[in-house]
């Protein structure tokens, strides 16, 4: 029931199913500050939406849920705007380079493998490290009842770098070079993997820059709005792959989910939030790893058009 024919994807889908998908991804987005691009694309592929449309329309949906999430965080003053802009500047440079690497790998004809391997490597690494760290701090907090050590007050070599700047919302006074570099690295991976990069950015902000978890979510979402907005326009103009009908359904589900996710997120402890995100990231990495390692039922697959 409630079947809807999508004009660009050219498939008929169940409207309620799409609303639900959007809602789940929006919920996670609001809760963890990740865009959800690494979830929505495989889910859309699974229900038969062509890959190009899935990536482009997914990006459009992420814009909406990120805005919804940022506005919710804004009321708690949990968005570090200067930090967001510094990350964005680095991100733009990085994603430009990432798209170049992507086209180079496409020319070599192994872009699928390359993308899958980067997913396994980065999701696995980040998810694993985060999982261990948050589990440890959760256990420490439980056994001793003492507050975990505040990382932001530990002085390392990072604090010796030039071009220092004050990031009031994060309570940091550091050089802009590390955030710029983090932004560029995330942008590079995002450009290659075709995602917003929130799942890389969030842990990087917590562990590399030492930002408080609550500020990280809003700031990450703020950055993602621009990256995915840019992606949407590029895909719409170059590939005509944004499906407005599909996007509308995903968005309606997504923004509602994002609001619920934000409320749930604020009720949880920072360690709990991190361990859940770690589990999510790890399970996606494991799923992709299994796809690579186990013999698939169907060895053949179809792609429209003629490959170069």
């Amino acid at each position: 029931m409630l079947q809807l024919y999508l004009p660009i994807a050219e498939v008929s889908v169940n409207a309620l199913l799409i609303l639900g998908l959007g809602g789940i991804v929006g919920f996670l987005s609001g809760m963890f500050g990740v865009g959800g691009g690494f979830l929505i694309t495989p889910l859309l592929l699974f229900i038969g939406v062509p890959p190009g449309v899935a990536v482009a329309t997914g990006a459009n949906q992420v814009v909406a849920s990120s805005i919804s999430g940022v506005l919710a965080q804004l009321k708690r003053k949990a968005v570090d705007f200067p930090m967001g802009f510094v990350l964005l500047a680095g991100g733009m440079l990085g994603s430009w380079a990432g798209v170049k690497v992507f086209s180079y790998m496409t020319a070599l004809g192994q872009v699928d493998l390359f993308v899958q391997l980067s997913y396994v490597l980065f999701l696995g690494l980040i998810g694993g490290l985060m999982f261990i760290e948050s589990l440890r701090s959760l256990l420490r907090a439980r056994s001793a009842g003492q507050a975990p050590i505040r990382r932001s007050h530990v002085h390392t070599w990072i604090h010796g770098l030039p071009f220092k700047m004050r990031f009031r919302a994060s309570g940091l006074y550091i050089s802009i070079l590390p955030p710029l570099l983090v932004g560029a690295l995330v942008g590079l991976l995002a450009g290659i993997m075709g995602v917003g990069g929130g799942f890389i950015l969030v842990p990087a902000m917590i562990y590399v820059l030492g930002m408080p978890t609550k500020v990280v979510i809003g700031t990450s979402l703020f950055q993602i709005i621009f990256v995915t907005g840019f992606t949407t326009i590029v895909h719409a103009v170059n590939n005509h792959t944004v499906d407005m009908m599909l996007a509308l359904l995903l968005i309606v589900g997504g923004v509602i989910g994002a609001q619920i996710g934000t409320v749930v997120g604020t009720k949880l402890k920072a360690e709990q939030l991190r361990i859940l995100l770690a589990a999510l990231v790890l399970s996606v990495a494991i799923k992709i790893a299994f796809d690579l390692l186990l013999q698939p039922d169907e060895l053949y697959s179809l792609a429209a058009g003629v490959l170069p």
Partner: protein
């Protein structure tokens, strides 16, 4: 005209001309927002100027073919412990939809040579002239293409689904799936006797997007920047509205 044909039929030893007369329940399909597949009734009759020329029964094959496009078939292979897409074959043109309806088992009613000549069965409709791999292996890829499309309902062979009454009237329903591609769908009707095609006819069903679907599709292709900006605005407004709505509910 008729008496002339009759005269010829009487004069020639094996004349007995049999021709096909057909009709479609609809010659246009409009894909609207709530399009969820449609059924097309194809019917017709055999027109004879003389009694049936032989004792062999008449048979009917009906094919419906969607617009063709190039397709790449890829195969995963086991390399260094990983299953990765390794070799691929590009097919020049494969129909996006192909249904064959027959009045009996296709192997019995259609000869190999006639199949080759009229390109009736599914393998013959896939053109793989410019495949990039050696011929022996390319065969496997084309078989895989057929298998995958049979599984998702794009390619269908419905043997015995054409009802033939009194060796004269016939009808069948062809189900067009929900994931339909826009374009002209070619309907071909073959009249067969003893494995040979006696007469054939061709009709066209135009499948077009309509209403909102048409509008959005045109906008996306003709005004792509505007389309992108509208999509983005929609996201911004929805994101803001949800946030404002949540604030309103909490109060």
């Amino acid at each position: 005209m008729r008496w002339l044909a009759l005269l010829l039929a009487l004069a020639g030893p094996a004349m007995g001309e049999e021709t096909i007369v057909t009709g479609l329940s609809q010659s246009r399909v409009a894909i609207t927002a709530n399009y969820d597949g449609s059924e097309i009734l194809i019917y017709g009759a055999v027109k004879r100027d003389a009694p049936p020329p032989s004792a062999d029964p008449i048979e009917v094959i009906i094919t419906v073919e969607g617009p063709s496009s190039p397709v790449t078939i890829r195969r995963k292979e086991w390399v260094a412990g990983l299953w990765i897409n390794r070799s691929s074959v590009s097919v020049d043109a494969a129909p996006s939809f192909y249904a064959v309806a027959t009045s009996g088992p296709i192997a019995n009613i259609l000869s190999q040579t006639e199949d080759l000549r009229f390109k009736i069965t599914i393998p013959h409709t896939i053109r793989s002239v410019g495949s990039t791999k050696d011929a022996a292996d390319a065969e496997d890829f084309v078989t895989a293409l057929q298998r995958l499309h049979e599984r998702d309902g794009r390619y269908r062979l419905d043997e015995g689904s054409v009802q033939l009454t009194d060796q004269t009237l016939f009808r069948t329903d062809v189900l067009l799936p929900a994931n339909l591609t826009e374009g002209d769908y070619r309907v071909r009707l073959f009249l067969l006797r003893d494995g040979r095609v006696v007469d054939s006819q061709e009709r066209v069903i135009g499948v077009r997007k309509a209403g909102v679907e048409r509008f959005l599709y045109n906008l996306a292709h003709e005004q792509s920047l505007l389309y992108g900006v509208i999509s983005l605005l929609m996201a911004v407004v929805a994101g803001w509205a949800a946030s404002a709505g949540a604030r309103f509910i909490r109060r």
